[in-house]
């Protein structure tokens, strides 16, 4: 439900319930709030949220808790009371000694883990769907990126037989040129995909073809990696500029085919 990991959320709520029932001390509540929030971010979602975002949330919450605890003299006294007792009362001497050893050990372990992480190649972000130019020229034909549509798409209703011919030609083009990277089933998992970085586009994905206009797809096909702006890291992408190998019709046909194969429609003009 809402991408939540329900057992974890329920368990955290249950712990909170027990604390309320036992009338826990303010300090226990503060620690519980931080711990529960951390556990919620880390385990509470089906898809974990990024570590950096969780850290920001925890930092803000931590500050708020400090403000809360120190908002009045009484509350502050109540909050630090357990700490005072731990330090002062002889019967907690063993626990205090344990803590004195455990905290430095934890800090030492953290530093050790930081220093010994296996090295990794530096990674850089890239824009997956960078803004296209306003127009592009392919084989002497200039198209307006904002308004251009696949010239053969309308055959789907006007002339299904002709549409099928274009699709079949697109199928030929795809399996003569594209599937090594984009895959037989178009999952972006072709036989060369494991050797490429960035990985090839996955056309099964609902977040790819359906959100793009066919003119955008045509731009990517015709101009390939060399046509990307710097934000799309053109130096890393293996997408060929297919204008070197294919005619305009072949490129529109394969454009048509990848939409049809996946049962998607291009995003229509002016549709957001």
């Amino acid at each position: 439900m809402w991408g939540l990991n329900l057992p974890v959320v329920l368990a955290l709520a249950a712990i909170g319930g027990v604390l309320a029932w036992r009338r826990a001390n303010t300090l226990v509540w503060l620690l519980y709030t931080l711990g529960a929030l951390w556990a919620f971010f880390r385990f509470g979602f089906a898809v974990p949220i990024p570590q950096s975002v969780a850290t920001i949330y925890l930092g803000i919450t931590g500050l708020a808790l400090v403000c809360y605890a120190s908002s009045s003299r009484e509350r502050l006294a109540e909050t630090v009371q357990p700490i005072k007792r731990l330090i002062l009362e002889p019967r907690y001497r063993l626990a205090l000694a344990g803590l004195l050893v455990a905290l430095p050990a934890l800090a030492a372990y953290n530093v050790y883990a930081d220093l010994t992480v296996p090295l990794e190649a530096p990674g850089f972000g890239r824009e997956v769907h960078p803004p296209p130019p306003t127009e592009m020229t392919v084989h002497d034909e200039t198209i307006d990126m904002a308004t251009a549509e696949n010239p053969y798409l309308h055959y789907k209703h006007d002339d299904p037989e002709l549409y099928a011919k274009h699709l079949e030609n697109g199928r030929r083009v795809y399996y003569e040129n594209c599937f090594w990277c984009h895959g037989d089933g178009m999952g972006g998992d072709g036989m060369f995909a494991h050797g490429l970085n960035p990985v090839p586009s996955n056309f099964n994905d609902v977040g790819t073809l359906p959100i793009l206009q066919s003119s955008f797809v045509q731009w990517r096909i015709a101009k390939g990696a060399p046509g990307l702006p710097a934000s799309g890291t053109p130096w890393d992408s293996a997408m060929p500029a297919w204008e070197k190998f294919l005619t305009n019709e072949e490129m529109w046909d394969v454009n048509l085919f990848i939409y049809d194969f996946n049962g998607y429609e291009p995003r229509a003009l002016g549709q957001h």
């Binding site: 330090i87 004195l100 530093v111 972000g125 060399p226």
Partner: protein, 591 residues
């Protein structure tokens, strides 16, 4: 035509059903219902026909550009079966390949298909060959025993069998797919085929487990030179052989990496002193990188046989050395090669077994008239169909190859690629185009043509702008040993015109490998994306110091807090004239 075929198979199915009563239990003709086959056809036409052909003859759109070629279902011959040599596969055998695919071929797994869809496709595939109507072609699956433990004795026994059975004739003495007859292997359609590299288990087409290997020994791969050993080896011997072959493997997984860690050494790097060089590299971690075909720029290479390369690096005060290693079925050391050799368009689809006479002596003519001759050349190539092509070209070619060692027209080669300069600090992500660079951001290639075994340096400003450069001297030594090429490079760390290797620096690096036997040259090559080489600090970073410091700081803070709290309590106690014990009593918490 399809309707006709369906009618025929249906009639046969009825006949088979009628015969079923009289058949031995082993023969199970199950061709499905007409509806199932029709449903299978829908799935087949969408997902399978582009490679296996809409009529099942293995001649789809992709066929000219993939090796091994897609299965021709009309022959009824299947490589991966649990049934004895020459027999038809079971439905489960077919299902297995459809579900998981054949690694490092163009056959992927199809996890998106439901079990029923797969069964329907199986019924449809079986309708392509009349063999499936013939009860005599069916047999019970072989029994695959639990693997024996890989004891030293078992592996040793397997090794003896490997030699006795001459497995090395194709697979090579240590299993790198480089046997003497490896270059001559063809399947029964005349298509060139490669012996498995037994050291790279992850590339085994039939699967990497001991059970998979045992199955291959016991059933053979129909239609290929790989025979069945069911008659010549006892079950237990086959199990020992499995253990030996398994022991040749370099792990289950390629463990592809993204980084070469160059380690520091005080020793001099002497390329001529093989022993000290090996000792130097012993301490350097080895990373395996994936290689794929160059299919972005003209001169495309759709089926590179070399699928990975291993690399390591060491450096000292002045110099840096790289060592790369990859497997190649034969050392091609007599041909020509360089990064900018032109590859005519028609040659993209042309692998081993190509018609050499066409561009052997008169290749210059051909390149000269390239524009004009492109169309007829392409027509000839496809028009004459595979039979003629491989019949003549193939025989000639293999004859030549046998006569002289390494008789290919193009030599094996390798190149390291680095950016000509490092990215500016404000945009560290910037790199040259990974395909030989671009006009603004050139690359340097350390190219070794293995005919000569020396390094030539090129500066690339794009695939059509590669020029020799002599700004830096790169030295290289090469060796070919039982199917493995090893090339060791050395250069001064500081460069006059290219990239310098400073300590603690990440430098982009990419690889290219050319297999002369596969007619690779110029842009027709196996290549990698950009990866990195990291020059590890020469002074080993101490871990103990920072760890101890962190612990002591935390301890000091703790002690300070304890001290302050206690002093405060003592002062309070003194002020109020009460003891610490009564303090806790009065302020007892609510918990």
């Amino acid at each position: 035509m399809t309707g006709h075929a369906m009618g025929r198979t249906q009639a046969a199915a009825t006949l088979a059903a009628a015969l079923l009563v009289a058949l031995p239990a082993s023969a199970q003709v199950d061709l499905g219902t007409e509806e199932q086959r029709a449903a299978g056809k829908v799935v087949y036409d969408k997902y399978c026909g582009q490679c296996h052909g809409d009529t099942g003859d293995g001649n789809g759109y992709a066929t000219p550009r993939v090796r091994p070629k897609p299965r021709d279902f009309t022959t009824g011959k299947y490589k991966f079966r649990t049934t004895p040599n020459g027999m038809l596969p079971t439905d489960d055998d077919l299902r297995r390949i459809i579900e998981i695919g054949a690694p490092y071929t163009s056959m992927p797994g199809w996890p998106n298909l439901t079990s029923a869809e797969i069964q329907n496709v199986i019924y449809y595939i079986k309708s392509f060959s009349p063999d499936f109507e013939n009860p005599d072609r069916y047999a019970e699956p072989i029994e695959i025993p639990r693997p024996l433990e890989s004891t030293e004795e078992s592996i040793a026994r397997g090794r003896v069998l490997y030699e006795e059975q001459a497995c090395g004739a194709c697979h090579g003495e240590v299993g790198r797919g480089d046997g003497a007859s490896a270059p001559t292997l063809v399947n029964d359609k005349g298509d060139p085929i490669r012996a498995a590299d037994l050291t790279q288990r992850w590339t085994y087409r039939g699967g990497p487990t001991k059970e998979d290997i045992y199955r291959t020994f016991s059933t053979g791969l129909n239609g290929t030179p790989m025979p069945s050993y069911a008659d010549s080896l006892e079950v237990e011997d086959r199990q020992h052989l499995v253990n030996y072959v398994y022991s040749l493997g370099d792990g289950d997984d390629p463990n592809y990496g993204t980084l070469i860690t160059a380690v520091y050494s005080d020793e001099p790097i002497d390329l001529q002193d093989g022993e000290s060089l090996d000792a130097l590299f012993e301490s350097a971690p080895m990373t395996r990188f994936p290689l794929v075909g160059q299919i972005t720029e003209p001169g495309r290479n759709f089926f590179p046989p070399v699928t990975s390369i291993e690399a390591q690096a060491v450096y000292n005060r002045d110099e840096i050395a790289f060592r790369v290693r990859w497997h190649d079925l034969r050392a091609d050391t007599s041909g020509r090669n360089n990064p900018s050799l032109e590859v005519p368009m028609w040659d993209e689809d042309n692998g081993i077994g190509g018609d050499e006479s066409d561009d052997g002596g008169d290749s210059d003519d051909f390149f000269g008239d390239f524009g004009g001759e492109e169309a007829p050349a392409e027509d000839d190539f496809f028009g004459d169909s595979g039979d003629d092509f491989f019949g003549d070209g193939g025989d000639d070619f293999f004859g030549t190859a046998d006569a002289g060692a390494g008789g290919a027209e193009f030599s094996d080669a390798v190149a390291l690629q680095f950016p000509a300069s490092l990215a500016p600090a404000e945009s560290p992500e910037l790199k040259p185009y990974f395909l030989y660079g671009d006009a603004q951001n050139p690359v340097d290639l350390w190219f070794v043509n293995l005919t000569y075994g020396v390094a030539d340096t090129f500066r690339g400003r794009g695939s059509d702008a590669i020029e020799p450069t002599e700004a830096d001297i790169v030295e290289a030594v090469t060796s070919y040993d039982q199917g493995a090429w090893t090339v060791t490079y050395k250069r001064r760390r500081s460069s006059r015109a290219g990239v310098s290797f400073a300590e603690e620096q990440y430098t982009p690096v990419a690889f290219s490998v050319w297999d002369g036997f596969n007619r690779e040259r110029g842009n027709k090559r196996a290549l990698s994306s950009w990866f990195y080489v990291y020059t590890e600090p020469s002074v080993e970073q101490a871990v103990a110091g920072p760890v101890l410091r962190a612990a002591l700081i935390v301890l000091a803070i703790e002690l300070l807090v304890v001290f302050l709290v206690r002093r405060r309590a003592r002062q309070q106690a003194a002020g109020e004239g009460t003891s610490g014990a009564s303090l806790t009593a009065t302020e007892a918490p609510a918990v």
